[in-house]
Every structure is written in structure tokens, then in C-alpha cells.
């Protein structure tokens, strides 16, 4: 069974190699081939989802192979309720991103090969149960992302790619320091995330807090939390559409997922000591991200800052550490993956038609592209947390969960929804409604490819909104375990 789980990494990896080795003459082949590999991987992830035991608290589909005994590290893979939704989200969004990349015209096989490599790295981060393996995958994600932005990005891509790289690399090295510290202080001579639990939880609180600070900086950069967020808008603006989808949809979740893994499960004492700081930064991110989004004139930047704000809710839920808070964080991670993916696909579609992302360059497009405009309205409602759609479930649970430990923060986060509604609805009004901008009068409506990429996300958003218990059921046992460790 463990090998099925390993397939979520190996399948895209093999796909990346196969696509990279295609002959130059096969110009049409890279995308269909990448679709096949990504679809197969979604199949594997769905199989895992279907066969996951929702009542067991143990790690499932576990695989443990010896790797480097000299360094106390082994290839240890497995999923629990916290990681399985992320594995599914990775597989789903990668497939849609590949489908949406129809218009990539240069160096196609390199592009699709890197997207698949990215998928392998992302899946690896979520299934790794050994700190070194985790760190390797964490870094593997960096390399394709750097090239994807740097080669296929917008005019200012080099600056954005280097900024992204240096930010995350600086964070990674702090994390590596923390991991080495964990290894040396633990005395277990092992990097196993499960095996280390007992020893690391027994460390003095101050030591735990120091280690968690080092690791937490890397995670906070990835999430990103204010004040570590400045790389995100640049990276998003320059990245091609499909890459933005993966960046916002999955990459950011590496950070919040890491908080769940390293915090309550490895360094609970340090996490508890630092959680007021995390909660404060989370609330600042929520408000700051929304406030900045309010005054953006660039559609993509607006969506990028809205990600900062929405990831703030995830972090508030994690910092609260209550059952409802963590469950809300988990649901919000999944839901934001869907909605951010949706919004970036829409921005990409508009950009492709108008060759600009300035909000003022649009206006009244509902008259020429009713379907696209309609989906934009739908996505905005989902993003601002309309009941019945996925965004509501996550944010509601987060605020509920945070009320106990951080009443004021919860209240602020609740009121910030007004800001969210403000920037989203104002954007929708300026883009979709009002006077039709004469330059946009001939804009074509949604194409089949776009519908194939966008449709599943809309359906999933509704499904999670109406039947959250499917997602909650998978996560429940793991969330209860985390909340119990933290004693909340």
C-alpha cells in the first residue's frame, strides 16, 4: 500500500523525465503526455482518498525504506488526515494547470517537464515523514518554480524569480538549522518525524521555542505571513497563469502544513509559547492583505494580496490550536486552493483577451462574456465566504475556534470579512458591470479548454460548501489528535 502512496511522487517524476526526453520534432506531444501523467496521478490520489480509513488515528499507507543509516535518515512516507487533502489538492490543481497551459508556445517540453517535477516535489512535501526527506522535497519545489517564473514569466520575471528564490532559500536554511538542531538535541540519532516526537516534546520549552522560531521563519515566508510576504505579489504578477495557480493553490499550503507538522506534533511546547505571536501576525496578515488588496489596480496583484489575507485565516486557526480552529484551517487550506486557483485562471483568461490586467481597462464585460463574468462573480462570492460555498466553512470554523483563546483577534478577523467583501465586490463591479469598455467590445467568451480547467474547480467549491463532512470526515481524527496534544 505504501508504494501506491510513493506513486504520487514517482509518477510525476517519471512523467517529467519522459516529457523532457521527447524528441524536438514532437512539438504537440508534451501537453497531452503531461495531461496523461497528471490525470493518472489524480487517479492515484483519488484511490488513496477512497481507501483512507477515516476512523484510524495512525499514519496510513506507510512506507519505510532504509536510506542513509550513517545520518539516521530513512525514506519514510505516509499520510494522515492533515496531509491527504493536500495530496489530492496537488494532484487536482496540477492537472488543471497543465490543461490550462495550452498557450505556452516556447520550450514546451521543458515547461511541462518542470510542472510535473513541481508536482513531484509538492506531493513529496506532503507525504514525507522524515525530516531530511521533507527538506529535500521542500527544496525540490524551489528549483522548477524558479525556472518556471524565470523563463515563462512576464517582463520583470528575473527580478521576481530571484526574489522568490532568495526569500524562500533564506527561510529554508533557517529551517535546515532548526532541523539539525532538532537532530542534535534529541539524542535519538534519527530524523524520523514520528520517532522524534517523544524526545523533542520533552525538550525544555525555551529550546523548543528557539528551534521552532528557526523553522517557523521558513514556514512563515512560504505561507506568507506579513511581514515576510513581499515576494508573493511580485512572483504572482510575473508568473504564467498555470504557475500562479499552483503557487497560490498548493505552494503556500506547504507553509501552513509545515506549521501543523512541526508545531503541535514535534515541538508542542515551543509552539504553545509562540502561538500568541503567530496569532497576532495572522490577524495582521488578514487585515493588511485585505487593505492592500482594496487599493490594487492590477487584477492579479489584487488576487495575490487576497491570498495573503486568506492564508491569515488559516494561520489564525492553527495558532488557536482548538479542534474547531485546526479543522477550520485545514478546510480553509483546501478551499483556498480551489478558489485561488479559480481566480487566477480567470485573471489569466481576461489577460489573454485584453493583454492587460488593469482593472480600469475592463468594465461591463458581462455584456460580451457573460459566462466568464458570471464565474468571476461566483468565484468572488466563494472567496468572500458566502454560505454554501467552500470559503464559508473554513473561515467560519476558524473564527469559531479562535473565539476561545483569542477573542479579540477572532472579532477582528470576523470584521475583516467586510474588507474582503469590499475589495472583491468593488473589483467585480468595475470589471464585470457598468459601462462596457469600448476596447473590450469584441472579447470572446470562455473557450472549451478554459471551461475544462475552470469547471471542476467550480463544482468542487460548491461540493465542499454543501457537503463539508466529506473533507471534515477525513481530517477529523488527525485534528482531534493535534488539539489533544495542545490541550485545548
Amino acid at each position: 500500500m505504501g508504494y501506491v502512496l510513493a506513486a504520487t511522487v514517482l509518477l510525476p517524476l517519471v512523467g517529467a523525465i519522459v516529457v523532457a526526453l521527447l524528441p524536438k520534432s514532437a512539438e504537440g506531444a508534451p501537453r497531452p503526455l503531461a495531461i496523461v501523467f497528471a490525470a493518472a496521478n489524480l487517479g492515484v490520489a483519488s484511490w488513496l482518498w477512497a481507501n483512507f480509513d477515516r476512523t484510524a488515528s495512525a499514519i496510513q499507507f506507510e512506507l519505510k525504506l532504509p536510506w542513509i543509516p550513517a545520518l539516521g535518515t530513512s525514506i519514510h512516507l505516509g499520510v494522515d488526515g492533515l496531509s491527504l487533502p493536500m495530496v489530492l489538492l496537488t494532484a487536482l490543481l496540477t492537472l488543471l494547470a497543465v490543461i490550462a497551459s495550452k498557450n505556452i508556445s516556447e520550450q514546451r517540453k521543458e515547461y511541462f517537464s518542470l510542472i510535473l517535477l513541481l508536482e513531484a516535489g509538492l506531493a513529496g512535501v506532503f507525504i514525507a515523514l522524515d525530516l531530511i526527506v521533507f527538506y529535500l522535497f521542500w527544496e525540490v519545489v524551489l528549483i522548477p518554480m524558479f525556472f518556471l517564473i524565470n523563463i515563462w514569466g512576464g517582463p520583470n520575471r528575473r527580478y521576481a524569480a530571484v526574489k522568490f528564490f532568495l526569500y524562500t532559500l533564506a527561510g529554508s536554511l533557517a529551517m535546515l538549522g532548526g532541523i539539525i538542531g532538532l537532530f542534535l538535541l534529541n539524542g535519538a540519532n534519527s530524523f524520523d518525524m514520528i520517532g522524534l516526537r517523544e524526545g523533542s516534546a520533552a525538550l525544555p520549552i525555551a529550546t523548543q521555542a528557539a528551534l521552532f522560531t528557526a523553522i517557523g521563519i521558513a514556514l512563515a515566508i512560504k505561507v506568507p505571513m506579513v511581514p515576510f510576504h513581499t515576494w508573493l505579489p511580485d512572483a504572482h504578477v510575473e508568473a504564467p497563469t498555470a504557475v500562479s495557480v499552483l503557487l497560490a493553490g498548493v505552494l503556500l499550503k506547504m507553509g501552513s502544513y509545515g506549521f501543523l507538522r512541526f508545531g503541535p506534533q514535534l515541538l508542542p511546547g515551543g509552539f504553545t509559547r509562540l502561538s500568541p505571536v503567530i496569532a497576532l501576525l495572522a490577524v495582521i496578515s488578514i487585515v493588511w492583505g485585505a487593505a492592500i488588496a482594496l487599493r490594487q489596480t492590477d487584477l492579479k496583484k489584487l488576487v495575490a494580496y487576497s491570498s495573503v489575507s486568506h492564508m491569515g485565516y488559516v494561520m489564525l486557526g492553527i495558532a488557536a490550536g482548538t479542534g474547531a480552529g485546526i479543522m477550520g484551517a485545514g478546510v480553509q487550506m483546501f478551499s483556498h486552493g480551489l478558489i485561488a486557483g479559480l481566480l487566477f485562471l480567470l485573471v489569466g483568461a481576461f489577460y489573454e483577451r485584453a493583454h492587460t490586467r488593469e482593472i480600469s481597462a475592463f468594465g461591463g464585460v458581462v455584456k460580451v462574456t457573460p459566462v466568464l463574468a458570471g464565474i468571476l462573480v461566483f468565484a468572488s462570492f466563494a472567496s468572500l465566504g458566502l454560505p454554501g460555498l467552500s470559503g464559508f466553512v473554513g473561515e467560519f470554523l476558524v473564527i469559531l475556534g479562535a473565539l476561545g483563546p483569542y477573542m479579540i483577534y477572532a472579532a477582528v478577523a470576523g470584521l475583516a470579512v467586510v474588507l474582503t467583501a469590499g475589495y472583491l465586490l468593488w473589483m467585480v463591479r468595475r470589471v464585470a458591470f457598468g459601462e462596457l469598455n469600448a476596447d473590450r467590445a469584441t472579447m470572446p467568451d470562455i473557450t472549451l479548454t478554459e471551461a475544462l480547467a475552470i469547471g471542476p474547480l467550480c463544482v468542487a467549491t460548491v461540493l465542499v460548501g454543501i457537503f463539508p463532512q466529506t473533507l471534515v470526515g477525513v481530517m477529523n481524527v488527525a485534528v482531534e489528535g493535534v488539539a489533544k496534544v495542545l490541550g485545548r
Binding site: I68, I143, I151, L169, L176, G177, I180, L184
Partner: protein
């Protein structure tokens, strides 16, 4: 350790060295009786390199056969132990790769390659003997055996003024460092009355006070290998010599010569320097300075060979971190690092040679769009540089990780912090080149044909980098066994 007195057994133990010495001679003889009579017929010349490679491969087999041996020859002046075997296999591997590269590159600057091959093989013999030397005078002789051929090799491109200049510079360096080393040896011998390293260690351990003459002697002894490994403050010769020397020789210098210095350093430091002094600090400071100097200087370079020269100084710093931890695991890390660095650096220099064949240039700006002209070459350089920068999945990451973990365990947290900081600095200039590979060149220069021999050597190095990055265990075990031999006896 087993003291060997039987002459037959001794000769058997020396088999790898004998084979290598004979191979060098064979290459020269074949040149005289077979290649030269053919006149300028170029088709026969590669065979001289093949003969050399075959001889070296045979020597490697003979060396590997000694991997479980632990013996002292000639009254303990020459030892055969896992550490020596580890280094000898590494030196032979380096020589084989460089010979493969040379076959393609040599015709550009000389019509008579036989002496080049022979000198390189004999220089490797010197490296191998250095790995086994256990006594001051043997060390001195082995060092000369490596230095003298290198002077000629560096100046081999007779028609290139820079090559001659580099040779003169290296000659002066060798003269100075030899004089310093010899003076140090005489002071140590004069003070202690013995010249084998274990006896020096035993004598030093007995003493409670150490006189100024002995201190000076030990310090001068250390400078002997500091020149070889090109660590700050003995690095000043590196950029000019690396840039001026023919590229295969530069590649050889940057790994073979450097590692020979470390082979020597390990024996001297661990077996002989058994005095109560904080060597952690001495080597730690050297390591830190080398990393900072190398990396900060490399950022400013616009020439690939010079950039790699400065990066080599920084890499010597990382290697010294392993030495500074002065523990068995730390030395194991150092040994693993040599293999990882060797593969990556030889791959990088291989690409430099291939590109120089086509563009006649080593400037970084001429690497633009290389990945489109030849995916293999572009990918190889990218992998090599990312490995040198220490990115995961490459050998360089595992090596740095290994070294840093055990340095931290030895209490050198400050040094690890400096090392990590330097890895970030170094990534800046490595990535700048990698980025260059994938941007479109100003004009379309067409596809780049890569000669078979070069691509074989290149592929081997790149495969080494990736294998060591993903499955480092076998080499790590060999490194640990070699380190254990040094510490545990």
C-alpha cells in the same frame, strides 16, 4: 597496524604505485617507438591516453583489492590503510576523467601529447604516495613528485603567454612552500629526534611545555599543505595559475592537487599534532576566511575559469570545516565531500573545455543560451553548479549537510552558521551562470557537437553528482571506514 618486513609482501602492497609508475613510462616508450615514427599522424595519439587510462584502471583494481589492509611498510614510513585506499581510488578516478578530457583539448595547444599524459600519470603517482606517506621525508619526496610535473603541465601551452606566466608563478610558489616546509621539518626533527608521524605524535603527547622552535616547526609544517589546498591565507596564487594553465590541468589542480593536500593534512593533524591546542579554532578560522574570501571574490568574476578558481578557494573552506571538527564523523564528512566536489568540479571544467573548443572563450557571457545549443552540456553545467552551491538532490547538498551536522555536533555552531551563510552567497553566482545557460543568446549559434570522449567523461561526473545526492550511502560508508582507520588505528 601490521608492520610488514617481508620484501615480497612489501612489493605486493606497492603494486598500485608500481603499475602507475610503469604506465607513465609505457606511454612515453610507445610514443617513441610507435607514434612518433608515424610522423604527425593524429589518429594514433588518443591511444596513448587510452593506454594510460587502462594502466590507471588496473592500478585502481589493485588499490581496491587492498581496501581491508592495514599495514606499515619500510619501518612505518609508508602505510596502506583504508584512508590511503580511499584517496588513491579518488586520485586515479580524477586522473582518468582528466585524461579523457585532454584527448579532445590537447591538439589545440600541442602536437606532442605523450609527455603530457606521462607527466599527469606521474603526478597522480605523487598524489597516491602522499596519501600513504607517514614520515616527513617521504612526504617531502611525494610532494616534489606532484609539484615538478605540475609546473611543466601548467606551462604546457607553449604559445600562450599566460600559460608560461602561470608556470613561473607556480614554480615560485613551489620553491617558497618547499623551503618553508623543509625548514619546518628540520625544526620538528631537530626538536623531537624522530620523523615518523606516529612517533612525533607520541613525543608531543609526552611533553608538557613546547619550545618556540618546535611551535615554529609545526606551524611551517601546516603551511606546507595549506598552499596545496589553496586555503586563505595561502590562496593568492590560485586565480592566475588556474586561469593561465591549460584547462585540463586546471581541472586536475582544482581537485587532485587540493585533495592531496587534504590527504596530507589529515595524517599530520590527526596522527602527529597530538598537543593540547585548540585546533578547532585554527582550522575553523581558516575555513571561515576561505569561504568568505572565495565566495565574495567569485561574485565579481566575469571569466568562468577565474570564477571556478575562487569558488575552489571557498570549497576548500567547506572541506576545512570537516577537518576543524576533528572527529571521526567530521573527517568522514570531509572525505565524502571530496568525492562530491570532485564529481561536480570535474563536470564544470569539462563543460568549460567543451565550450572553449567551440567559442574560444571562457567568459561567462558567452555561455548564454548554452542549454539550447546542447542540452547535455547545459544540463551538466547546471547540475554541477547547483551541486557546488549545495542544492538538494545533488551530491553537494549531502556533502555540506554531512560536514555541517558533525561540525555542529563538535560544538562549532558559529562555523556552521558561517558555512550556511556562505552557501547562500555562493548560490548567487552559481545561479547567475545557470540562469545564463537558459536565456536566449543574442544570435543563433547553432547546435554544439560534443565529442564522444568528453561526453562520456561528463556523463560519468554528472551521474556521480546525482547518484551521490540521492544514494550517498555506499560512498559514505567507505568514507566512514577510511576515517575510522585514521582515528581508531
Amino acid at each position: 597496524m601490521l608492520a610488514v618486513t617481508d620484501m615480497n609482501v612489501t612489493m605486493q602492497m606497492l603494486l598500485p604505485e608500481i603499475i602507475v609508475a610503469a604506465t607513465g613510462a609505457l606511454v612515453l616508450i610507445l610514443d617513441l617507438i610507435w607514434v612518433r615514427p608515424l610522423g604527425a599522424a593524429p589518429s594514433a595519439r588518443p591511444w596513448l591516453a587510452y593506454v594510460g587510462i587502462a594502466g590507471l584502471a588496473l592500478a585502481a583494481v589493485a588499490t581496491v583489492a587492498e581496501r581491508h589492509t592495514s599495514a606499515a611498510l619500510f619501518s612505518n614510513i609508508f602505510v596502506v590503510d583504508p584512508l590511503a585506499v580511499f584517496f588513491k581510488v579518488l586520485f586515479i578516478g580524477i586522473a582518468i576523467i582528466v585524461l579523457l578530457y585532454s584527448v579532445e583539448t590537447l591538439p589545440r595547444f600541442t602536437r606532442w601529447p605523450a609527455e603530457f599524459y606521462a607527466l599527469m600519470i606521474w603526478c597522480t603517482l605523487g598524489h597516491m604516495m602522499l596519501a600513504s606517506s607517514n614520515e616527513l621525508f617521504t612526504i617531502f619526496l611525494s610532494l616534489q613528485l606532484t609539484s615538478l610535473p605540475l609546473i611543466v603541465l601548467i606551462g604546457y601551452a607553449k604559445h600562450d603567454g599566460r600559460s608560461g606566466e602561470a608556470a613561473i608563478k607556480y614554480l615560485l610558489l613551489v620553491l617558497v612552500s618547499t623551503a618553508v616546509l623543509l625548514y619546518g621539518m628540520s625544526l620538528v626533527y631537530g626538536s623531537l629526534g624522530t620523523s615518523t608521524l606516529p612517533d612525533i605524535g607520541a613525543e608531543l603527547a609526552k611533553r608538557t611545555t613546547i619550545g618556540p622552535a618546535l611551535i615554529l616547526g609545526l606551524v611551517l609544517l601546516l603551511t606546507g599543505f595549506a598552499f596545496k589546498i589553496a586555503a586563505v591565507p595561502f590562496q593568492f596564487w590560485v586565480p592566475d595559475v588556474y586561469e593561465g594553465a591549460p584547462t585540463p590541468v586546471t581541472a586536475f589542480l582544482s581537485v587532485g592537487s587540493k585533495f592531496a593536500g587534504f590527504a596530507l593534512a589529515l595524517r599530520i593533524v590527526v596522527t602527529a599534532l597530538r598537543i593540547d591546542m585548540d585546533w578547532h579554532i585554527t582550522f575553523g578560522v581558516m575555513a571561515a576566511l576561505s569561504m568568505f574570501f572565495g565566495n565574495l571574490s567569485a561574485i565579481r568574476q566575469s571569466d568562468m575559469k577565474r570564477m571556478l578558481a575562487y569558488s575552489g578557494i571557498a570549497q576548500a573552506g567547506y572541506l576545512l570545516v570537516g577537518l576543524a571538527s576533528l572527529s571521526q564523523e567530521g573527517v568522514g564528512g570531509l572525505l565524502f565531500y571530496t568525492v562530491a566536489y570532485g564529481c561536480a568540479n570535474l563536470a564544470a571544467f569539462g563543460v568549460v573545455m567543451i565550450v572553449a573548443e567551440h567559442t574560444k572563450s571562457t567568459r561567462i557571457q558567452d555561455y548564454a543560451g548554452l542549454a539550447r545549443r546542447s542540452p547535455l552540456v547545459g544540463l551538466s553545467l547546471a547540475v554541477a553548479l547547483l551541486s557546488l552551491g549545495g542544492l538538494p538532490l545533488m551530491a553537494g547538498f549531502m556533502a555540506k549537510f554531512y560536514v555541517f551536522v558533525y561540525a555542529a555536533k563538535a560544538g562549532l555552531i558559529w562555523l556552521v552558521a558561517i558555512g550556511v551563510m556562505n552557501s547562500v552567497i555562493s548560490l548567487y553566482y552559481y545561479l547567475r551562470v545557470v540562469w545564463q545557460l537558459y536565456v536566449p543568446a543574442g544570435e543563433d549559434l547553432g547546435e554544439m557537437k560534443v565529442p564522444v570522449r568528453s561526453s562520456v567523461a561528463l556523463t560519468f561526473c554528472v551521474a556521480g553528482v546525482l547518484t551521490l545526492g540521492i544514494f550517498p550511502e555506499p560512498v559514505m560508508q567507505a568514507a566512514q571506514a577510511a576515517a575510522a582507520a585514521l582515528f581508531g588505528g
